[in-house]
């Protein structure tokens, strides 16, 4: 079975600027992959190539085995753009109905109702877009991306305009999507969000993938911290497997051990190491 989404040796050049320099990335079926990187790293370009908005200079992208941008690829895709707008005179229900027509979804009113409930807009069904807050429009955008139950979901900064409650709605939604087996590529600046919901993370810097793996893989051991009657000290380079031995050695040396903690780097540490001094 082909990957839900895959890019191979992807390059994109805008004039003299190399936005992507041979990126390889795959989102497997049922996987939720997070894309991280500072501004200008090429994340949005990668996402736009994957959904067919931008043409690659070299390399190629596929959605469910079909060339990105082809009708077959678009039929499998749900997409929330980083910057988007719906016509102000449309109601929330009409926006979803329009996208149902375009995706040939046969979900009808029941699907629209369900999607509006998922993004906590059930009460705004007949509210016009120009009467909605930015956060509501963002959530409507997410509902729009889910029309027709796409096999692959590409979300570009889905929580950028949301308040903490709205972010929680999206995080719960992402967890539900993962549980339902949907494949998701999530581009976000919010490390905590990525760390909480993603199966794998790819960190881009200057058009290249500089780190990739599961959040656990990216969170490297930083040592073991022992709290004894002599105080707290850290054994650099020690791992979880060393903890029991270190405690035994301390006890054998006559120390009173009050606590032991295995230290790992957070995704934030890994991210900052990977992107260096670039400001996001």
């Amino acid at each position: 079975m082909p990957d839900a989404l895959a890019v191979h040796a992807l390059e994109k050049r805008y004039g003299s600027v190399e936005a992507l320099k041979g990126v390889d990335l795959a989102v497997e079926e049922g996987e939720l992959v997070g894309l991280l990187g500072p501004n200008g790293a090429g994340k949005s370009t990668l996402v736009k190539i994957a959904v067919g908005l931008v043409r690659a200079t070299r390399g190629h992208a596929e959605v469910a085995g079909a060339r990105a941008g082809s009708r077959a690829a678009r039929a499998e895709l749900g997409y929330l753009a980083e910057l988007f707008r719906f016509p102000g005179w449309y109601t929330a229900d009409e926006v979803l109905a329009l996208h149902q027509h375009l995706t040939r979804s046969e979900g009808g009113a029941a699907e629209r109702k369900r999607l509006l409930e998922i993004v906590a807009l059930a009460d705004a069904r007949d509210r016009r877009v120009d009467g909605m807050s930015k956060g509501m429009q963002q959530r409507l955008g997410i509902a729009q991306a889910l029309v027709g139950s796409p096999r692959v979901l590409v979300l570009d900064e889905p929580t950028s305009a949301l308040d903490p409650a709205g972010r929680r709605v999206v995080r719960v939604l992402l967890e539900e999507l993962r549980a339902s087996g949907a494949s998701v590529l999530l581009n976000s600046h919010l490390l905590s969000e990525i760390e909480l919901v993603c199966d794998r993370v790819a960190i881009l810097r200057a058009g290249e993938v500089v780190a990739a793996g599961s959040p656990a893989e990216l969170s490297r051991p930083r040592g073991v911290e022992l709290e004894t009657d002599e105080g707290v000290h850290t054994v650099e380079g020690a791992t979880r497997e060393d903890a029991a031995r270190l405690v035994a050695e301390a006890v054998a040396a006559g120390r009173q051990v009050y606590g032991v903690r295995v230290l790992t780097s957070t995704l934030e540490d890994t991210y900052l190491e990977a992107v260096g001094d670039e400001i996001s």
Binding site: V51, A75, R85, F86, L102, R104
Partner: protein
């Protein structure tokens, strides 16, 4: 087909909701009222006009054709204003505002999307042009009891001219920002009108060079040629001095006309749309 209708309907709804549509409707209402007033006074006082002895001018035909020519110019102008404002931002403008991306990634595809937007705008403008032209005809008929020898074809040619402007505007919207595209299309429209007037001047001065320049411009900008052909048709039965005087006026007849320019216009429209589709298919959004 369903997707085409959906997007055409989307474009239609957008068109009729825009303020420019309301402005054009108000301007049209004002124009038609003034046009009725002008016809009323012209035809009421027609009997008082007495050409010099020995000069035979069919004053009713002259007045009717001249006034209808004026109405056709106004209809073309307002139709083009409507066409340009409905389409100047169809690609770049909508992409900058973020309206286009959610639609483009849907299975309908870019070509269907753009053609649907073209059809939506064309439907609005054709209905508008034919309605205003028809009302102008009715006003002249009711006030002056004059009708042109050809009633339908000039209206269709006017509508065709506006449809060509829509295609050019959509083509421009793929590569230019909304403002630049609006300016470019209006400059083309102005160039076409100027070329038409140039032909009239060339005719009056009997200058073949100027007439030739006007003909080249008419083939290059066929919306103007269609409008000129429409003018020719409404005065095609005016002969003698009446016909000559009509030819001299700003609403005089065409130097490029007939089926040749109509067929050329259809081909021109097809090429403009094909270029727009090709450019849009390669456009990064």
């Amino acid at each position: 087909m369903s997707a085409v209708l959906t997007i055409a309907g989307y474009g239609f709804r957008e068109a009729v909701r825009r303020k420019v549509f309301a402005v054009v409707v108000l301007l049209t209402a004002a124009f038609l009222f003034l046009f009725w007033l002008a016809n009323h006074y012209v035809f009421t006082r027609l009997s008082t006009i007495s050409p010099p002895a020995g000069v035979h001018v069919d004053t009713r035909t002259f007045a009717g054709a001249f006034l209808l020519g004026l109405a056709m110019f106004a209809t073309l102008f307002l139709g083009v204003v409507l066409a340009v404002f409905l389409t100047l931002g169809v690609v770049t403008g909508d992409a900058e505002r973020g309206l286009l991306q959610p639609l483009v990634v849907r299975p309908i595809g870019r070509s269907t999307l753009l053609l649907s937007r073209f059809l939506g705008a064309a439907a609005v403008c054709i209905v508008y042009v034919l309605a205003v032209y028809g009302i102008a005809l009715a006003i002249i008929d009711l006030t002056g009891h004059w009708t042109p020898p050809s009633k339908v074809a000039p209206g269709l040619e006017l509508a065709g001219g506006v449809v060509i402007v829509i295609a050019l505007s959509i083509l421009g919207s793929v590569v230019l920002s909304s403002t630049a595209n609006g300016i470019a299309v209006f400059m083309l429209f102005g160039a076409g009108l100027t070329a038409g007037l140039l032909g009239t001047i060339g005719h009056a001065l009997n200058s073949h060079s100027i007439e030739h320049a006007s003909k080249v411009a008419a083939w290059a900008l066929p919306f103007e040629a269609l409008y000129q052909d429409g003018l020719r048709l409404i005065s095609s039965d005016a002969s003698g001095l009446t016909g000559f005087l009509l030819q001299l006026g700003p609403f005089g007849g065409a130097y490029v006309h007939g089926w040749g320019i109509r067929i050329w216009s259809v081909g021109y429209l097809a090429v403009a749309l094909a270029l727009a589709l090709f450019a849009f298919s390669r456009r990064d959004l």
